[in-house]
């Protein structure tokens, strides 16, 4: 049985290679929309290289056939050279690396909340189908889903920060920011909450959490309906199946029937969605990051896009693509773990 699972995972890993190649081809195809001078920016890694645009075009063959260009470009990408971002005045890779922790910190706290609340509410709704509880949770979830995130974010900020002076925007308070930038506080991951715990500095940890409250609430409120609706319909579908009646017929109590049988089967479609949600969160949430001054990847990408900073946008596209491919890989493995039928396929 477990050897089945192992070959399945191995097969998925091998499939990763063509998927990644396909994704880079797509991203590369976008670059072909621009003329060689614009594309030359992809290869510039230092501001002073800008004077040698013509030489760069010649060197990297930006006027040569497409497949040679792709090969040249992918060689650079593999070496970690994603080009120079004019809008941020730094290497694109560096920009992604420095901006990612803020996004990751948001994602790490909001994604599990969205998934857990979504699953819980969806399950509750399905079990209490057509009761007040069902209608109420569905209405609340849909209202959340329909709220524009910039509006909800601003309203929350206005009420809590503006009105009561709590939960300020940004990632840290000034004193904590200063401490973090000083040499005493070691940055391991760039995620302040986790680094603070590693440094055993609980006041910085609490400060980071304090700043996370509003953006996490915003993201959770808006996205919970996504999971909830799929969970609800999936659960209803499972509850109508014969094996549920069979489980009841052998004298199992309702809790066992629902938790051990219906929920486990109902979770299968939710896993796919959760993987995509997590990848989406990790690749940046533009509006929430902007409203709460959480300068993460999304904020960076949006900023770059408005300034027509092509290398930055492409770098971001590559980054998001890789994230989604990895998320799909994890989803596939989880699938096989939860649904034994898949291992044979």
């Amino acid at each position: 049985m477990s050897s089945n699972l192992r070959t399945y995972i191995a097969r998925r890993l091998i499939l990763l290679v063509p998927t990644l190649i396909g994704m880079t081809v797509l991203v590369f195809a976008i670059t072909q929309l621009f003329d060689p001078i614009e594309r030359a920016a992809l290869y510039i890694t230092e501001p002073r290289q800008a004077r040698f645009v013509k030489e760069i075009i010649a060197k990297y063959g930006l006027d040569r056939p497409v497949y040679i260009q792709y090969f040249n470009w992918i060689t650079q990408v593999i070496q970690g050279n994603l080009g120079w971002s004019q809008s941020l005045h730094m290497k694109v890779l560096d920009a992604l690396v420095t901006r990612f922790p803020a996004t990751a910190e948001l994602a790490i706290y909001s994604t599990p909340l969205i998934i857990l609340f979504g699953i819980y509410l969806g399950k509750l709704s399905a079990i209490k189908r057509n009761t007040v509880i069902d209608h109420a949770s569905r209405v609340v979830a849909i209202i959340g889903w329909s709220l524009p995130s910039f509006w909800l974010g601003i309203v929350l900020l206005a009420i809590f920060y503006g009105g009561m002076g709590v939960f300020p925007p940004g990632r840290l308070s000034e004193w904590a920011e200063a401490l973090v930038r000083s040499g005493e506080f070691k940055l391991y991951t760039g995620l302040y909450t986790i680094d603070a715990l590693i440094n055993l500095n609980f006041s910085v940890f609490l400060d980071a959490i304090y700043h996370l409250v509003l953006p996490v609430i915003t993201l959770t409120t808006i996205n919970v309906a996504l999971i909830m609706r799929v969970m609800r319909s999936s659960m209803l579908e499972q509850l109508n199946k014969m094996y549920i009646t069979a489980a009841r017929a052998r004298g199992l109590d309702e809790k066992t029937v629902i938790d051990r049988h219906a929920t486990r089967n109902a979770l299968i479609p939710v896993i796919t969605l959760s993987g995509l949600l997590a990848a989406g969160m990790l690749s940046g949430v533009v509006i929430t990051e902007t409203v709460f001054e959480f300068k993460g990847v999304g904020y960076f990408a949006a900023h770059a896009a408005t300034q027509l900073d092509i290398p930055a946008v492409l770098g971001f596209a590559l980054f998001a693509g890789i994230l989604f491919i990895l998320a799909n890989l994890i989803v596939d493995i989880l699938y096989a773990y939860i649904d034994p039928r898949i291992r044979l396929g």
Binding site: M1, K241, M242, Y243, T245, A246, A247, R248, A249, R250, G251, L252, D253, E254, T256, R260, H261, R264, N265, I338, D339, P340, R341, L344
Partner: protein, 391 residues
């Protein structure tokens, strides 16, 4: 016939059961005043076309009427192991858990659909055993420990024995609950119990004539053939030796050879366990082979009940006659009953069979016939025979 008490040799009696489904298209009158009885140790075949209310009746006996169905009238009297008589339709959920799987259990039409696809078959059988035979299993575990360890009592053995004894005598003990929450300790203390249950399942699977039970226990349903899956479903149903087994077309979706094996198995298990069986099918051949008595259902009502030989020799109801004539025979042309099964949202008035009946009389449109006794153990619900009996 309503509310007749259960005589001593009777296991179950369904009186005037009426089940309706409240759907958008209207009220489906799925079961209308259906009455049945099953004696101890006998096999009652229920035959009828699709939509005759066989399966709904069967599920209602377990108080598992599929939604949006509702029981409108009638009662289902059942004699429990301790000889007390209960009305299943008036039990609360907690009482029903003690009936389902323990006193009455069920096997299903599609074994593939009746097993949870993501749960190993061993786990699914374990559930049935844990639900009703936990005490017995715990006692066995204590026996095993005693035999194995004799007098040497190390700490673990003492903890194990204590846990099992607490489970028997004082299951709500806080200390026991704490122990069962700590992962490693829980696993160690439960290991013996798990082995005992596994042994029990292996024995059960051997009874089901499953080759290599040790492998099958750890298989997922999709890894087994249809016949094997049905044997597992039967094993789950018989795990707690129920008094009544309801088999809802258990062989319909199987190959003919497998079908014969399963029928044979059910017949032999019946002798071993002494359970009464309600065997639902639309196949007259299967009915002839397995039942002692047969009930014929049409459009939600029982139209004829008779011992199997009597029914085949002397069918009285026009529908039963039609059914028997429509069994294909080599050499003779295939006969069928004219017309189709009525739409149960708006069933025919009076006798529901009258639009298709060759012997239709005017009063058939108005009067719904009741089951009357025409000879010893032979009942029929047809106006042709009304007045022939004093019952």
């Amino acid at each position: 016939m309503s509310n007749k008490p259960l005589s001593l040799e009777e296991q179950l009696k369904v009186n005037d059961l009426t089940v309706r489904f409240y759907t958008y298209e209207g009220i489906v009158k799925a079961v209308e005043k259906a009455s049945l009885k099953i004696r101890k140790g006998e096999t009652l075949g229920i035959v009828g076309e699709t939509g005759s209310g066989k399966s709904v009746t069967a599920l209602t006996i377990l108080a598992l009427t599929p939604s949006p169905g509702r029981v409108e009238d009638g009662n289902i009297l059942f004699r429990k192991r301790d000889s007390s008589v209960i009305d299943i339709l008036r039990m609360n959920e907690h009482q029903l858990l003690q009936i389902r799987g323990k006193e009455i259990s069920m096997i299903f039409q599609e074994p593939n659909a009746a097993l949870d696809p993501v749960c190993k078959v061993g786990e699914q059988i374990t559930e049935a055993i844990l639900a009703h035979r936990l005490r017995e299993m715990v006692e066995k575990s204590i026996e095993v420990i005693k035999k194995e360890k004799d007098n040497e009592y190390d700490l673990w053995t003492r903890l194990e024995t204590w846990t099992y004894k607490e489970m028997l005598n004082n299951p709500s003990d806080v200390r026991l609950k704490i122990i069962q929450k700590i992962p490693i300790i829980r696993d160690i203390t439960k290991r013996r119990l798990r082995q005992v249950i596994r042994q029990e399942i292996v024995e059960l699977l051997k009874l089901m004539e499953i080759p290599d039970p040790g492998r099958v226990i750890d298989a997922y349903p999709h890894e087994l053939s249809g016949g094997m899956q049905q044997r597992i479903v039967i094993a789950i149903a018989l795990a707690c030796s129920p008094l009544l087994l309801i088999a809802d077309e258990p062989t319909t979706n199987l190959d003919v050879t497998v079908q014969a094996q399963i029928l044979d198995l059910i017949n032999r298990l019946k002798e071993k366990f002494g359970s009464s069986i309600i065997y639902i099918t639309h196949d007259m051949g299967v009915v002839a082979e397995i039942s002692d008595r047969v009930a014929v259902m049409y459009a939600g009502s029982v139209v004829e009940v008779a011992p199997v030989k009597e029914l085949f020799r002397n069918p009285l109801h026009p529908y039963t006659k039609g059914l028997l004539e429509s069994i294909p025979r080599p050499g003779s042309p295939l006969k069928s009953i004219p017309g189709t099964v009525p739409n149960l949202v708006d069933p025919p008035s009076g006798c529901r069979f009258h639009p298709r009946c060759a012997y239709m009389m005017n009063k058939c449109k108005e009067i719904m016939p009741r089951l009357v006794k025409v000879s010893e153990d032979h009942y029929v619900a047809c106006l042709l025979y009304e007045g022939e009996s004093d019952d």
